[in-house]
Symmetry: C2
DNA sequence: CCGCATCCCCAAAGATACTG
DNA sequence: CAGTATCTTTGGGGATGCGG
């Protein structure tokens, strides 16, 4: 039953693909990069992935030591999936893949979840010394906290920010449109509250070239 | 016909996986990292990969702009597959994946081709200033040329070396055993000719920790 | 509800044989 | 040598259902 399909090669690239090469595996891991998620949240962010395959991928990734199943302390007691330490060490792989994939074609009617937008901001953040900020970003109902210290992004995680200097609210697509320079924030429908100068600096630091 | 299976996401990681995510695709690209190869050479280095899937992957990778089909000038006029410039830009992805995959389990009866061994030497080469060398490595019938300048690996490609200081000859498994420290060169069956001090320095620079 | 398991169907991969 | 043709097996997409 558990066929353990492998490339049968000693090469570390092949062994990495033995772990991560099945369809959807990398995208499941990607959804956990900003923190633990529940099964149904994963399913919601991965349209086209059926429940059978999602459950299978999570089981395989757990077995291979990339993902860990956690039960949150009550109240709530929700079951969530989180990256192990080894799974978190995939960051350099994702960073390299994201830079390379920027030049790959965008499929028609492409879905864009909030996590990839925030991850892209982190991967392509341009540090410019001389400013500090705490910004809360709310996209499609998801809440994220960013911390900038001396112009460098020092923290980004899911969840509300404590005493933010500014808040950005809108859809994933809106923030992405602002990042690409397609639209200014107001035209994109991205609401800015709080310190508008801080928000502008942040949007500048994450603006994509081209 | 061409189904164009895609994740349908705008995320650059997902788009990269649209191009590279099909089974065997990354390993086909890996086999081209050290230079162009013919169809049958690819097939020989990728046991378990059938001719149908290999032809399909090559066609898809060519269509997406990762691989280019070349016809060598006569005499010979062999058809080879080579990486495009974009394909060559996958190097950081492979480097990150290889580092991560080092900690993944080695499948039983693992195959080990000569290319992965040389690629591993390049990825994990430890620079130590103060020496220069040209070394030819012959593994399983494949020939490679390495150039070290001031202790840094400045060139590695398939093909014979011009006027090498030393030559290593053996199997891929033998050189790998030496790199891991499992066996000394002679016990592993790795023949060293020419300047033994240079060969020793090279083997030191590519020795794997742990 | 959330977290899957079952079922059905098609598409992709493995194996083998064969051809320009 | 460089693939295509064919067949079988496996894995993935989609819908539904069921237990906690």
């Amino acid at each position: 039953m558990t066929s353990a399909r492998t490339y049968g090669q000693a090469c570390p690239v092949a062994r990495a693909m033995d772990v991560l090469g099945e369809r959807w595996a990398m995208l499941v891991v990607r959804e956990l990069r900003l923190g633990p998620r529940r099964y149904s949240d994963l399913a919601a962010q991965l349209p086209g992935l059926g429940p059978t395959v999602l459950a299978a991928r999570l089981r395989e990734l757990e077995r291979s030591g990339v993902v860990r199943r956690e039960t949150l302390p009550p109240p709530g007691a929700a079951r969530v999936y989180a990256l192990t330490e080894w799974g978190a060490e995939l960051e350099p792989v994702f960073a390299a893949l994201a830079r390379w994939g920027m030049r790959a074609p965008v499929p028609p009617d492409a879905h864009l979840g909030p996590d990839p937008v925030l991850l892209g901001m982190r991967t392509f953040f341009r540090s410019t010394p001389g400013w500090d900020a705490v910004v809360e970003v709310r996209l499609d109902g998801e809440v994220y906290a960013l911390r900038v210290e001396d112009g460098a992004l020092t923290d980004l995680h899911r969840g509300p920010a404590a005493d933010p200097d500014a808040t950005l609210t809108g859809t994933a697509g809106a923030l992405h449109a602002v990042r690409t320079g397609t639209l200014p924030p107001d035209a994109a429908g991205l609401a800015v509250t709080g310190d508008r100068a801080v928000a502008g600096r942040l949007l500048d630091a994450v603006r994509l070239p081209g």
